[in-house]
Structures are given as structure tokens and as C-alpha cells.
Symmetry: C3
Subunit: 304 residues, 3 copies
């Protein structure tokens, strides 16, 4: 990779992505070989909105490399409350760490912040924008379970607001995957994303019924439909109830299906799915560690 800031999955070529996934696979196969690799290095964590999972995963990744973290803590306890600009905050924190991870509620925040610092900055989610390490761990999980050759993937749930979904869909275009989007009409892909995918030459189909496509899929990527998206609750329950999956359905239609989910799940994946071999959503979360180790390893190497 020539970039040291990691802002968006879109900035990464197929070759870049494969380099990260290869490194992650190497790390997963023999973590002890990387245990002292970045001893003495510090990763600055700037989380302007809560995100336990992502924060713990980055912390674990940095510590598994022999490094350590310096954490800004919550916004409530920070100088942000005294009116400090994001540009000033990152320029200060840059002095405390060798690389930075930024989570921020505003789209574009990571790109803007990266222009003010020399230390490599990794976007850990900027509002409705990008979350490239989530995309990389999703790709890693797909590759480990189904591979990218002749891949057929279904993406189900809230496709309208799901940042994770848009970013993954875009990244999958470089692997020539057949993408099936399954959602209620009110939560279909935004026009801009659909346009983007068509421009990239992606093979994309939209469905309102999972049954239409379930048997053809290698992977089903499920996302949570949020109650807040619906004007009245009864409508939510009606819609959400149709975009759930359970073990009986999988056993009947597609025993080899790999099931993924960015988590947290509520009830869109029935707990009886947990016992199936194809239930990979916890492993998917765990894959965040080697993938982030790989990425951190590469940007810290780069910035030396």
C-alpha cells in the first residue's frame, strides 16, 4: 500500500485488499510470530461516539502486536466540550501516539482529520460514511469460508441506512461477486449506491423475498432492521418478521450456507442458527483482530 491513512475501502485496490487479507491469514495462522512486532508503539484511540466492539478489537489487535493504546475516553470527558476543533484535537493526540484510530459521528471527519496529521490515521467509522476495517474483516470472513471465486452473496435487511452494507457491496465489485439484495421496499439500496454498483459493472439483483434466492447463495449477510426507521411499531414488527432467518430454513434450503452479521443482532438471526457450522458471525467479529493487526502492522511499517 502506498497510502498511510486508511479512510475508505474505496481507496484500496484489489491488490491492496488481498495484501491485507494475506497478512491477516498469516497472523491468524501464527500469532506468536507477531507478538513483539510493534513493542513500544502506541495507538491513539479517538472515539467521538461509542463503539465497544470496534474499540476492543483495535485495542486487542495493537496489544497482540506487542504495542499499547492511549485512549481519549468519552467525549464527555474531553476537551471537545470546551469547544476544541477536531483538527486541533488530532494534532495534539498525534504527539502521544504512533498511529491514530478515529471514530466520529460526522461523514467526512476522518478524511478532514487526516489532512492535519503526519501519523497514519485509520477511519473506524464516520457517521453514514466509511468503516474500512469492518469491510476488510467482512471480506476476510467471506474469503475464509466461501472464497471469492464465482461467489454468490445475499445481503439482507436494512440496505438503505446500513453503512456496512454499502461499503461491502462496493468492495465486492472488485471480486466480481454476484450480489443479491434482499429487503423490504422501504429499505432498499439508495439510488446513489445502486448507480455506483452498476457503474462498477457489478452483477446486482434486488429481491423482497429471501426464498427467491436462498438456495443459490454461498453467503448470507444479515443486518439489523432498526425500529426507529418506521413511523409506527406495528409496521416495524410486520416487516422485520419477514427478514429473519432460522436453522430450519437453512437446513431445508441451503445446508452449506455461510451466515454473517456485523453484530449486534437482535432477533434477525434466530439463536438456533448459532449451532450450525455455517454460523460465522461470532468468528467474523473475532476476525477483526488479525485483520486489524495486519492493517496496523502495514501502516506502522510504512510510517517508519
Amino acid at each position: 500500500m502506498r497510502q498511510d491513512h486508511i479512510i475508505s475501502a474505496k481507496q484500496l485496490s484489489r491488490r491492496d485488499i488481498e495484501a491485507v487479507l494475506d497478512r491477516a491469514a498469516e497472523i491468524a495462522a501464527d500469532p506468536s510470530a507477531y507478538a513483539d512486532r510493534h513493542e513500544g508503539s502506541l495507538l491513539g484511540l479517538l472515539f467521538f461516539e461509542p463503539s465497544t466492539r470496534t474499540k476492543m478489537s483495535f485495542s486487542a489487535a495493537m496489544k497482540r502486536l506487542g504495542g499499547d493504546i492511549v485512549d481519549m475516553g468519552t467525549v464527555e470527558s474531553s476537551s471537545v466540550k470546551k469547544g476544541e476543533s477536531l483538527a486541533d484535537t488530532v494534532r495534539v493526540v498525534e504527539g502521544y501516539a504512533d498511529a491514530l484510530v478515529l471514530r466520529h459521528p460526522s461523514e467526512g471527519a476522518a478524511q478532514m482529520a487526516s489532512e492535519f496529521v503526519d501519523a497514519p490515521l485509520i477511519n473506524a467509522g464516520d457517521g453514514a460514511g466509511q468503516h474500512p476495517t469492518q469491510t476488510l474483516l467482512d471480506l476476510y470472513t467471506i474469503r475464509e469460508n466461501a472464497g471469492f471465486d464465482d461467489l454468490s452473496i445475499g445481503i439482507m435487511g436494512d440496505l438503505k441506512y446500513g453503512r456496512t452494507v454499502h461499503s461491502l457491496a462496493h468492495a465486492l465489485t472488485v471480486f466480481d461477486a454476484r450480489q443479491h439484495f434482499v429487503s423490504p421496499e422501504s429499505l432498499q439500496l439508495p439510488r446513489s449506491v445502486r448507480y455506483d454498483l452498476h457503474e462498477s459493472g457489478a452483477e446486482v439483483r434486488e429481491h423482497t423475498d429471501l426464498d427467491d434466492v436462498l438456495s443459490e447463495l454461498d453467503v448470507l449477510y444479515v443486518t439489523r432492521i432498526q425500529k426507529e426507521r418506521f413511523p409506527d411499531e406495528s409496521e416495524y414488527h410486520e416487516v422485520a418478521g419477514e427478514y429473519q432467518i432460522d436453522a430450519a430454513t437453512i437446513r431445508e434450503h441451503n445446508e452449506d450456507l455461510t451466515v454473517m452479521h456485523p453484530l449486534p443482532r437482535v432477533d434477525e438471526i434466530d439463536h438456533d442458527v448459532d449451532e450450525l457450522d455455517g454460523a460465522q458471525y461470532f468468528q467474523q467479529a473475532h476476525n477483526g483482530v488479525p485483520v486489524r493487526m495486519a492493517l496496523l502492522d502495514m501502516v506502522l511499517e510504512e510510517s517508519r
Copy 2:
């Protein structure tokens, strides 16, 4: 020990307990011999309710073993707020760490959570339930100061709601201690605990007045009486005032008394007691570090 999850002091035999206390004593005598023992290991901290003391003590213990922590942070900042189940949370965090510590407001939470993970899980308090590492550090402190031979211990204060007290009382039965419970009538041991102790063949007596028994005690374990337990404040002050101890009383009745308290104290132990040799409550808190080091050392060894 054959268990790798540590849920309740009750699961530990006398032999198990002595193994932990012996290891803790070894560590306290020469901490440097353990300083690199778990280098590269990570302990996941899941505190679903605040507990500074316990959290700092586990953190220090893990770091004194050469390891490090990965902290979920507060519930407010976690996926729990998005409706994630405890079972899902622990299965995710298991991927970030080699062992887990769980503090949760609901009785039984640790037992339930432990059924979903392979990594060893240590209960750091589950509501009105168990808090086995507190019991172990209490036992360690008693052994260091008075020994278990022919031990006579007084336990004073809120005996009705005090989880710490119930767990300690039960553990003391395996050491054949004479136990004197001193409290106002409204805060006596719950019937179920009293029954439990009698079943275990414990030698137990109840008192409403400390003077009746003070001179016979080797150890006095004081707990805080909480204002919230009383319908009106004047009643609280009247009762609380009688279950306090000061230096003059100790000097007069029992100069060799060891005084313990799980802390924080408010005014049930007068500050003039701090200067006495028998005032062991700060040392008791400090003992949490070698005791937790011992336990972590044993479960991490076990789980390899």
C-alpha cells in the same frame, strides 16, 4: 483446580482455596518471579456496573503478571444499549482475550455467561449473588493475620443484604471457624443463609451488641450499613451509630484484634483506628492483587 470458570466460592474445596492462597503468598513474597509469566495474554474486562476497586485490582493483577487488559468500558458506551444479549456479548469478547472477568447486576449472570464461552470466565460480582475473588482475598487476609486454627471471627453491620458477608460466612465453614454475627435485628442474616450455615455444621452465634463478644474475637469484619435500607433517616442514624468501632474501644477490650472491611467505609470504622497495627482493611484491599494474580495464573495455565 479442575474448573476453569470461577463463578462462586462455593465451587472451591478447602484444598482449592488453600492452593490459591498458597500461590498468592508465593507471589506476594516475590512478585518479580511472576512479572513475565503471562506476557502477551489479554484479560477481557466486562463490567456491566461500576466497580472501580475490583476493576483496578484485576487490571493491576493482570499487568503484574506481564499481561494486559481489553476493557469493554461502561454499559452506556456498549452494544448492550442496542439490545445485544449477554450471551452474544461474551461470545464476541471471547475473541479479543484469553480470559474474561464479568461484573453484572443480575444474580446468576456469570453462570449463564460461562456456558457460552470456552475462555475461562471469572465472576467479579453478580448482583446479590457471588463475588468469589472478594471472598478469597478476605480469606487470605484472615490467614495472614490470625490463621484459621481455632479462629473466632465477628462479622458486623448489614448482614441481610451484604453479598460479601454471605459468601465469606459460607467459605469460613470449611475452616471450622467460630462465627459471631453482630447486627441490628432488622439487618440479621437472611433465613436461607442461616439455614445453609447450620447445614454445613458451622458454629454460628448471633448478637445485637458487639460488647457481648468483642473480647473473644481474633478478627472483626465490619461492613457498611446503608442509609437506603431504612424507611426514615433518624432510624438509620440511631442504628448505624451502634455498629461503629473506634480505637479506644479496641484498646480497652481487645488490643490484638484484626479489623477488616471490604471498603468503602463511611463512618463505621473511626479514622483513629487507622493507626492501630490491627487495622488491616487497606492491606486487605491491597491483597486483592496477589490473590487475583494467583487465580489468573491458575486459570490461564489451566486453559492452555
Copy 3:
């Protein structure tokens, strides 16, 4: 240094200060020589009020020395809420760490707390009181940029309430600096501080207009004027607007000026100043790391 607690810059002689700054300069020149120096040591962080910058800086400093931290977290999550006294809290935490850092809203808290512990305690700010490590990093930055020989420094903004300013002004007297205080009349130095400075034989002048003195200065130390100090907002805007600096003014009157600020800034330093060579406020924040490393190194050495 003969002290192991660091409570106030006033306790440090010129020789003490120079020893810290020399050590900090050594560290900054070759940090890797100090990377394993305090391996296995733990620093307890007790922040009773938020202070991201100071907390991250101490964390980075301790970790850059090979050590680690044990953090009390926020007051909301601590035993303080259960009515524990500060004296009890520090005596407990002393058992978890080799040195303590205390931030507290009450003036005198650090001095009081230090009387209860054997481990070295460093004051990281006590209300309107002292914040000695801020003063040391300010002095370090001044020495690196202008030196103390024949130094002429301007201190501008809120001189009435600014703890940072009082402490720095006092410390500068031992270096025989010429000090120019620039502020609106309503925010001039408190009489007690002015008296103190005169007693120390300091060469001090007060101004209401920066233009009167700008061209003679080696360093301009800017502080934020807080809206809350003014009864009505229009008055604030009028006053604050006069105590701002921009690049054009510096280029016109004093091209070699070093500009400092304890941060966070709001608009008292225009963003166009950031590009000037003399803009040292971010570097000043970064200097907190080697300065705190030096101080931690010295107190940990001392306490062995």
C-alpha cells in the same frame, strides 16, 4: 530532587527544574534509551475531573518508559459516589500502583492526599491550585525555543482565573525573566499573585494593549478568555476580540515570536498562525510526554 511527591512547582528549586528539563531533553533526543526503563511499573491514575490531554499525556509517558497504567476511570463509576473519602481512596489505590497521579477539583487536594501515601504522588491539577507538570512543560518549551537568558515573555488573556498562568509566572521568577502581562482590566492578575511576584523580585509589567509590547517579546503565551467570566455576552465578545492574535500581526511586528498556548484554544489564536515557524502550541502539548517521562523516571527511581 529530595521530594518524592510533586505537589507544586513552587517546591522545585531552579536546580530541580533544570534537572527535569535536562532529563526531558535527553529523553526527547533518544527516547529508545528509555523504552524499557520502568518495565513492570504501574502508574495509578486518579482523575476526579475530566482532563483528556493531561491523562493521555501521562499515559503515553508511562508507556514510553515501558510501564503501564491502572486507571480509576470517571468519578461516576467510582467508590467516591458511595461516600469514600479521598484519603481512603488514595490509600487503596496505592496498593495497585508504584506511583500515583491525582487530578482533583479542590485546591489543596493533592497536598492532603500525599500525606496518606508512601508511593510518590504527582499533582495533575487541583482546582484553582497547582498543576506543576504543565508548568514544567511550559518551561521546557520556552527553553527549547527562546532560552532563559535575557528572556522577555508576554502572557495574555485571562490572568485572573488562569491557574496555569500564576504557576508559570512564579516559576519564571527563578529564571529572571521580564514578564509582561496583557489583559483587560477585569481579568488582571489577582493582587496576591502580583504581590508574590514582586516579593520574588520579578521584573513585571502590566498592559491592556498587546501592541505596546509585542515587538519586544521573545515568547507570547496566550490563554483563553472564558465566556462564563462575563455577566453579558456582548461584553465578552468585545473584550475577547481584543486579545486575539493572527499571522499578519506577527509578521508585521515580530517575525521571530514564539507563540504558546496551554490549549484547548477557541479563537484567541487565529488558525493562520498555525503555519508560522513560531507556532509552538502543538509542540508544547507534545512536550508533555518527555517532560512527564523525565519526572516519572525521577520519582520512580527515587522511591525504589
